[in-house]
């Protein structure tokens, strides 16, 4: 018997981070009815709210600037693999969204004369990053967009909805199935157009800056529906994630803003500066080394036996006067004191952590995927950043691409209307909502930890053919253990059931990363092969991944021509 969808909408937005919120606002502004879903609470679940500092945009408030200069830096950082049209869109549309965010009272830090302040982040040729003090960029961006989404009207916002599958008919995406976490039941959602804005995959790694909701859901949704992923081998590691001493109530990437404002010194066990030995410009108290290089330098130094006690590098601000620390980071200095840390007396330890994914769903400049009816935006999208991302580009990307996706999805939904055929959703509905056989001893939380260990050990910042092969074997074993359906009856806030879906997504996405990383026999940007050091010009092409009949297929395409 065909049943109607419980929820119907012109535009379905999956994920309520910066990209999803902006997409929802823009789609509603264009006249569409919008349903904005998030597995967590609205505006709380992903990377956007956790971001602390930089948003790159050529406003030219410190020095004359132009999106063309921002584009040049973005392409250089991408090591030849950026899709120039997407990168250009990021840089150009970025200016508009940041200005609109300013009009919406985000509270970008300003000079006394009213000019927006811009910090100079590594890889940029001039000060180009706006921010909100103190370390409040993400919360401010999220709050602003949430308020705007409430004001806009026409946006139904709904948290605690874990989208598990897209629903297709006749090759077109016509909605999705979600697990309603609050009630523990499956929900059907019919939509004229669907936008994946689910963020990245860094939770797949043991040391990461991720929230609990970043296991690559969107990539898996897209793959299983038949869309194409691109650049999946390029996972960015953030070189100076907090390692020791154990801190609570602080984000592991907190030291980046300190580096921007105060420089700081990165030291090995001999208390020597070392990044210049690996080709970085001498630090001289300034923050100039890019992320891929710093990750490389720290990892090599640790491997050479010159790491800090916990297995990273020392980061020291001992030379910075207390007054300067307080002037720049007052409330944070208090939180550090509560953790027993006095930066004037002790260095802390840092190490590379998984931070951002350059790869993702392949889209055109309308954010349209290969599948009719399906769009993507934000970190879920691949292409704009190539093999390595510049600091500050991710939030700009989320906002700019979100706006474009919202506009395009709204137009498509108006043109095509809503269709829904329940039989297509039947399997997905059963998976999300039906009770499976009870499996005593089955622990998906422990399995996820095992996946994270494998990814960290074998598919991290440095890779080898043998390590990647080991990873493939372990991932296959975990997939076999996972089985075909979640065990037990669904309950309200059933984390074990959510873990089962996270593993289904995470294992598939991990396979895609391993596949692409194995094939790319060179070292470039964030993809470093110990067994293939050095960039190989013959590899100046993008790899794609698709799924058919349960098998992943790898493709290669030439880098798109300059826009």
């Amino acid at each position: 018997m065909a049943e109607d969808a419980e929820l119907r909408t012109d535009v379905l937005v999956i994920g309520a981070g910066g990209a999803g919120l902006y997409a929802a606002i823009e789609a509603a502004r264009q006249g569409a009815q919008v349903l904005l879903l998030d597995r967590s609470l609205i505006g709380r679940g992903g990377a956007t709210v956790m971001a602390q500092m930089t948003v790159a945009v050529a406003l030219g408030t410190e020095q004359p600037d132009d999106p063309a200069f921002h584009l040049r830096d973005t392409l250089a950082a991408g090591r030849g693999l950026c899709d120039p049209a997407l990168a250009r869109l990021l840089c150009e549309e970025g200016v508009e969204v940041i200005q609109e965010m300013d009009a919406w009272k985000t509270g970008w830090a300003r000079h006394a004369d009213g000019r927006i302040r811009q910090a100079h982040a590594p890889g940029h040729d001039r000060p180009r990053c706006v921010y909100v003090d103190f370390l409040s960029t993400g919360p401010a961006v999220s709050r602003t967009l949430r308020t705007q989404a409430q004001r806009q009207g026409g946006i139904r916002r709904m948290g605690e909805m874990l989208v598990t599958d897209l629903v297709l008919a006749d090759g077109r995406v016509q909605g999705a199935v979600a697990l309603d976490l609050a009630h523990g039941r499956a929900v059907r959602i019919a939509a004229g157009a669907t936008i994946i804005a689910t963020g990245g995959l860094t939770r797949l790694y043991r040391r990461n800056s991720a929230s609990a909701n970043m296991a690559g859901d969107g990539y898996a949704l897209a793959l299983r529906a038949g869309a194409t992923l691109i650049d999946m081998e390029f996972v960015q590691f953030f070189p100076i994630g907090h390692l020791a001493p154990r801190l609570i109530g602080m984000d592991p990437i907190m030291w980046d803003p300190f580096r921007y404002k105060l420089g700081g010194r990165l030291l090995n066990s001999e208390r020597e500066e070392f990044t210049d030995r690996y080709g970085a410009p001498p630090e001289g108290g300034r923050y100039v080394v890019t992320r891929d290089l710093a990750t490389y330098a720290i990892t090599k130094e640790v491997a050479a036996g010159r790491g800090s006690p916990a297995g990273g590098a020392w980061l020291s601000f001992e030379h910075v006067p207390e007054a300067e620390l307080r002037a720049n980071f007052g409330p944070v200095i208090d939180r550090l004191a509560a953790n027993g840390i006095d930066l004037t007396k002790t260095a802390i330890e840092v190490a590379p952590i998984a931070h951002y994914h350059m790869g993702g769903i392949r889209v055109d400049t309308r954010m349209a995927t290969d599948l009719p009816g399906l769009f993507a935006a934000g970190e879920a999208v691949g292409g704009a950043n190539g093999a390595n991302r510049l600091s500050g580009n991710a939030i700009t990307e989320a906002l700019a691409f979100g706006r474009v996706a919202g506009r395009q999805a709204s137009a498509l939904a108006k043109q095509e209307g809503i269709a829904w055929t329940d039989p297509r959703a039947r399997e997905a509905l059963a998976l999300a909502g039906r009770a499976g056989a009870v499996r005593p001893g089955f622990n998906p939380a422990a399995m996820f930890a095992a996946l994270q260990a494998t990814m960290a050990e074998e598919v991290g910042a440095f890779r080898t053919a043998t390590g990647l092969a080991r990873a493939a074997t372990r991932i296959a074993a975990l997939a076999a253990e996972l089985g075909e359906a979640p065990p037990g009856a669904p309950l309200p806030h059933d984390l074990a059931r959510a873990d089962w879906f996270d593993l289904r997504a995470g294992l598939l996405v991990a396979r895609a990363v391993v596949l692409a990383a194995t094939a790319r026999t060179e070292s470039r940007g964030a993809h470093q092969r110990e067994d293939h050091p050095g960039l190989d010009a013959a590899w100046t092409s993008n790899q794609t991944v698709t799924l058919a009949g349960g098998r992943l297929a790898l493709g290669q395409q030439p880098v798109a021509a300059a826009a």
């Binding site: 679940g45 154990r246 609570i248 422990a446």
Partner: protein
Amino acid sequence: MSIAILSIHRGGPGEAPRRDVFEVPFEAGQSVLDGLRWVREHTDPGLAMRYACLNANACKECMMRLDGAVIYACTARLEAREMRLDPLPNKPLLRDLVTAIAPPDERPPDAA
């Protein structure tokens, strides 16, 4: 090795509330959330709790009661003693440590 003892409220609305007690290895500098996640990974993956950012104190989803006082589980320190964890008092209980904290217009609709 010292241990922390987590005494946790279990069950949903309408069920007779009960408590489960878990022993968790304790390391200085850990948070209560670290302890709860250890329980899920090693003892009982079915424990219901809510968190997203883990460490950043950005999502504000991990609010619960520790010995009666409202805390964020990710910023409260785990201690080598018995700690009583309960759901928030003034919000509808969903299960175990989870209450309905989303704004009413941002919740999934009640089943038809």
